[in-house]
Structure formats: C-alpha cells, structure tokens
Subunit: 415 residues, 2 copies
C-alpha cells in the first residue's frame, strides 16, 4: 500500500459539523433527537444525507423497505461492493450519535476518498438502514432484516404504529419503489457505532474491535399469589409472590456471577397487582433479560435462571412460570473483517480492545449474508437511547479513520 | 340474670335476609357492592337502615359528620348508652359483609330485645359511622375519628373526592345538621365484624374475641440507581437498584420472622422506572407495611427494617431511603368489654379465640373515649375488600348472639 494511502485521514471537523447539522433535524428541547422511523423528521434527515451524498458524487437509490444506498463507483464497478452504514432514525428521546455516527462516518470515508482522489477497484456503498430502533414500528433492525432475507417484506410493510399508520403507508407517501431489488454481492461490510456501554471510556480505550454480538433473550416471570389483607393474614397463611421474588433475585444474580464477567442479567420491570400498600399482591410479574457472548454459557445461564424459577415456584407451591418473549442468537463477525478493523487501529496507533457488542445492530442482519465487522468508539458514561448521549469529537474522528483504513484494503486494487 | 334472658337468641334468618337486601343497593355485577361514602348508593343504604330502625321503634338522628345513631331508649334513659355499630359504606369493589354485618347485627340485637319485650336500663344505640373505608374521601374511619375528637370536623368536611366534591357538599345535599352534637357518655361499645383474615376459618373457630388492634405503619422505600443498557453494561459497572432489592427482601422477611408469629410484613407495591425490559432501572420504589400487636416488638421490627434499608443502600453506595407515610398506634380494648365478649361466647357454647385485629376499625377511635371491644366471625378464605367476600349464615348468627349477650349485662338493670 503506497504511503499516500497509509497517510490518508478523514476530516474530523467536517464529520463533527455534519453530526451537529443532522442533530438539528428533530432536535428535542433537552439536546437530543426525535427522528422516529419514516416520520417527517426521519424523512428530512434522509433528504439531507441524500444531498450530501449526491454532492459527493454518489448515486443514491432506495429499496422497497426504505433502505437508502449511496454508491461511489469502483474502477471495476461490477465487483462486489464494500459497504458501510448504520441508521438515521432515533428513539423518541434519542441522542445525536446512536446510528447517525455510523452513517456520517461512512459518508466521511467517501468524502475523504474524494478529497484525495482515491479510486477504489470495488464500488463503495453507504447504507442507511430503515427503522433500526423499532420504536415507532415495533420491529428493531427492520430494514436490514428485510434486505438480508431474514424477515418477509410483506410482513414488514404491514407493521403499524400506534396511530394505525403502516410502514407501507409511509413508504408510499415517500414515493419509494414497491419491488425489492435483487441483493447485490457484498465483499465486506463495516459499521461504526458508539459503544452504548461504559467499558471503553472506563478503560480509556479509543477503539472497540467488535468481534461479534451477544446471544440475548427476554423473558417474563409470572408468579400467581393470592390477594390478602396485610393486617389480619399471618405470614405463614399467605400465598405471597414477593416471597418468591425474595428467593429468586439473589439466586439469579449469583447464577449470573457463576457464568463469568461477560454474563448479563437484568430485571428491568417489576409489577405487582393490585399494587396496594396494605394488600399482599395477588400477582407479580417481572422481566428478565439474559445475555452472554458465548453460546454454551448463554444456554447454561438461561437454563439455570429457568430452573431457579421452576424450583422456587414449586418450593412455595405457587403457580406461574417463565416465558421467553424475544430471543436473538449471538453473532460472530467475519475473522477477516475483524482483523481489518484491528489492523487499522494498530496502524493508526489507537489503543484498541476486542469486545462483543451487548446490543443488537443492523450488522447482525448483514453478517448473515456478508462478511461483516463493527468499530466501537466510547460514549460518555455509556449512555445511549438518551437525549444526553454524548461522544468526544476526537474519538468519533478516530473511529472514522479506523473505518476508512479497515475498508481501504478491501476496496483498493491490490487488496 | 333470669333464664328468660339467658335463652334470648337473635333471628338469624332476619339478619341474613337484611344482609341480602342491603347488598342489592349498589350491587356490582360480580356479586359485590359499591356504596362509597356519601354516594347515592350509600345514602340509599342509610335510608333503608333508618326505615328498619324506625320501624323497630328507634329514634334516628345524624350528626354533623354524617354519623347515624338509632336509639332504643332505656328505662333510665339519661344513663350512659351501650353502643354497637359499624359502617355501611364499602370499597368500590367491596363485599356484602365488611361493615354492613356490624350494623345489621346491631339492629338485630335491638329487634331481638323488642321481640322478647326486654327493657334495658341503659339506652342502646346503633351507630353507622360515616366513611369508614376512606376510598372516596381518602381518610379511613373518618366519622368515628371526628366523633371521638381525634380529627377536626372542619378538616373532615373539607376532604374532597377525585371529582372535587367535598364531604361538606355531600352532607349539605343530604340536609344533615351543620353543628356537631355534644358527645354523650358511653358505658360500653361493641362492634361485630368479619375477621378479614383466614385464622378463624382455618382453626375452625366461630368467635374471635378481639383484645385490641395491631400497631401499624406504611413506608415507601426509594432506591436511586442509574439507567443503563442491559447489553453493553457489565454487571460490576451498574448502579442497579434491583440488586439492593435482592439483598433487602430476604433480610426483611427474616427480620419479620425473628419478631414472632404475630409480626406482619407486606410489600404490596413494587415499581421500576423506566420499566423497560432491556434497561437497568434508574429508580425502584416499594411499599412496606409493618404491623405487630406488641408495642415494643413493633418498634423493634420497624427499626430493624429501617436499619436494613440504610445498610443495604450504604453497601451498594446508592442514594435513597425509607419514609413512613402513615402510622396508627395499636389499641388495647377495655378488659371488661373483652371479658363480656368472651363470657358471652362461652355461655352460648361457641369455640372462641382471643385475637388481635390486623386491620383498623371504627372501634379504634371509639376505644379512645369509651370502653370498647369487638367480636369477629370467620369469612371465607379471609377475603375482604373483595366482591367475592363471603361468610356463613350460621357464623353471622353466632356473632350476633355473642354481641347481644355481651351487651345485655351492660344494659340490663342488674349489670
């Protein structure tokens, strides 16, 4: 690789300025963004991105599920594309960086190739996946799922928001094509993203080399007790579901600890019915989110948690159970793509750290059909899905440079 | 006491028939009653009671807070009254017996005295205390509190329901007097009530001789954590309030057990914020209801629970605390009145059991100014504040007979 290529760097100021410009669309009072999928704000964000991409010489097209592709032609344009991208839609009280950073870092790669008149052999494509957040139309990573073939187009088009407006309605309103294009061959795909966790910041590491995504599932535990008056009912005559919770919680945290530091166990929601201070609850529900990067450990932890529920219910002779309501298998990213990210960080002299993503991303869907990896950068306090989401300009620039140098060897003539 | 008096019995069929008639007023679809205090249904219930009482030769009057008194004159009518009564108002999804039974058992005592032409020396008064439930106007035992002088009339009149209607508005609408009568001297007061707990039923005992009411208080525990994504945030980097709950619940149940079988500890309500399955809660609140019949044990248990909260918060370095939002000191009923109930049950040949009420009753207020005791009868499954509330006619009749024979020695010439 010639030194002129090795010394190629993105324009960090342009990247930051575009992040701030994009953040004005759907800006919330508390400094965040509300650009829910296919809303007017999301459409305005995509329009701005299209203008930038076309000004950078890209050909922009949209597919039948609303994914946007901005293509920078290669010298052998029929070859498989080198892809990058993420999403522009946000949570209702989202931040300026989740998703947006991956899109604008990808645009910055294309701009930087232009700045230095670098011609790649393979075409380079920037993707904006439609409805990654799943907050308005409740299917996260929708566009990439349809694109990769893991979710039927017709089902996705039929999803509706709370007002009864369907994805199809919104895509029709936008005048998007109604037939899905044939998915083209992809040589490699990369996604830059804020970590959404506190690890890089706390370890003072600039680049997370993402080797895969955790196995994860969500469950609901239901414990049926019997409502009773808090006063006249002796403790040993109660069918108190909180007593079962008192057994379960410490045992569940202990089981999680037994599965190593990568295990994750979260009780996000606890509800008691009827929820009166002087009534023993008749019913208790709580959610359990279980994650682990290792498939065998994940399965073992999930089984252990399930066993604890079963045993506790039997011990207390109360009906109930644990039901899985969502599960996503873990993903191992492509070794060559991961290695490209690691080498890029090394070459650029950034402290890097191999890590597994705790959250799902569009790259999980892309990885099912193309060699894929991700680049993480730190975010303040690990905060995301939050209007206070924040990241340092220097880290964002570093991540975009790593993205550029991970993609270049894949796209250049002598790759 | 002459044998004719000893063999006096109430008319159980009339009692049951009146309970069923009263239950048609404000009847709910699921077989319960909705006669919230001073509502049209409550007024209709009181009107029916007044008709019955007047037909039984009583003089009926209402005081400025809506308490209704039906007086059967004594042969020395200036002497202190022997009182009995309870309340006719119900919870929104209340049952047919809570409160109502005490009123109609009292009426049945008067009717039975009439049936057998028994003239008492002391006047006998049946009271219907206003707004015992505190569900519409949120102050439980309101009428008896004002009557006994523990709560100011003006404050009670100013209480409003959710629609902004005040107690004063409703009393004015009913045309009740606006000045509180001078409280007359009370020789003794008795209240019959369903147990609202499972003990009598499970022990196959007909009569609960109520020696007092538990000390009780309600508290809210607040634990402030930090919202974090369930995936990317390692367990040891979380500020997870559920982890504190996992420590607290078993320790709290254990502390309760250390304070003997009479201790009561209830977590009725647990709430997580924001309550999303894949977010570590930023905040957790739960209620704690603590009761014990013994003052020293009650204070010790309350202190132990508070200490556990403080220690757990310190151990986990999370802000929060426990705040008492309601407390009612325990009541010890009058020894002579309790003994009258016990003797009556013995004389009548019923299995009886000394017990402490776990719930508050109007008799707690009455006990502050007059010798008082209560009679409990079993209710199915210990259920109350529930449309499925149920009690056996034979038990209700037994309780009314005990009430009659506890009151008679107090009211008769040779008491």
């Amino acid at each position: 690789m010639p030194d002129s290529i090795k010394s190629l760097r993105v324009n960090g100021e342009r990247l930051w300025s575009r992040l701030m410009q994009m953040a004005t669309i759907g800006a919330t009072r508390s400094g965040g963004c509300n650009r829910q999928a296919l809303s007017d704000a999301d459409m305005a964000g995509r329009k701005l991105l299209k203008q930038w991409a076309e000004a950078a010489g890209c050909t922009v097209r949209v597919d039948a599920i609303g994914n946007l592709f901005a293509r920078r032609a290669g010298s052998e344009d029929c070859l498989a594309v080198v892809m990058t991208g993420s999403h522009l839609d946000t949570q209702p009280t989202g931040g300026k960086f989740d998703g947006v950073y991956g899109v604008l870092a990808g645009l910055e790669v294309i701009e930087s190739l232009n700045d230095h008149a670098v011609k790649t052999r393979h075409p380079v494509e920037l993707c904006v996946w439609c409805n990654e957040e799943g907050s308005r139309f409740s299917m996260a990573m929708m566009g990439s799922a349809v694109w990769s073939g893991s979710y039927p187009l017709s089902k996705a088009l039929g999803l509706t928001d709370r007002a009864g407006i369907s994805v199809r309605d919104e895509l029709t309103r936008a005048g998007f094509p109604t037939h899905m294009e044939q998915r083209q061959a992809v040589k490699a795909s990369f996604e830059a993203h804020i970590e959404q966790g506190p690890v890089l910041e706390q370890k003072a590491i600039t680049i997370g080399v993402v080797t895969g995504v955790q196995h994860m599932s969500r469950h609901e535990v239901l414990i049926e007790g019997q409502e009773a008056h808090a006063g006249p009912t002796p403790m040993d005559m109660r069918r108190d579901p909180v007593r079962v919770l008192a057994d379960l919680l410490p045992a569940m945290y202990a089981a999680t600890a037994q599965h190593g530091p990568s295990a994750r166990f979260t009780v996000g929601c606890i509800e008691t019915q009827p929820g009166s201070p002087n009534t023993v609850p008749g019913q208790l529900r709580f959610t359990v989110d279980i994650r682990h990067p290792d498939g065998a450990q994940y399965a073992a932890l999930k089984a252990a948690i399930g066993r604890l529920v079963k045993e506790a219910l039997e011990r207390h002779r109360l009906p109930g159970g644990m039901q899985c309501f969502w599960e996503a298998p873990g993903v191992t990213f492509d070794a060559a793509c991961v290695s490209a990210v690691r080498s890029a960080a090394e070459t650029l002299g950034f402290k890097a750290w191999d890590m597994v993503s705790g959250a799902g991303h569009d790259s999980c869907n892309v990885a099912a059909v193309a060699p894929t990896a991700m680049v993480f950068v730190p975010c303040a306090g690990g905060l995301s899905h939050n209007e206070a989401e924040s990241a340092a300009p220097a880290d964002l620039e570093a991540g975009a440079n790593v993205l550029l140098h991970a993609m270049l060897p894949m796209a250049l003539p002598h790759a």
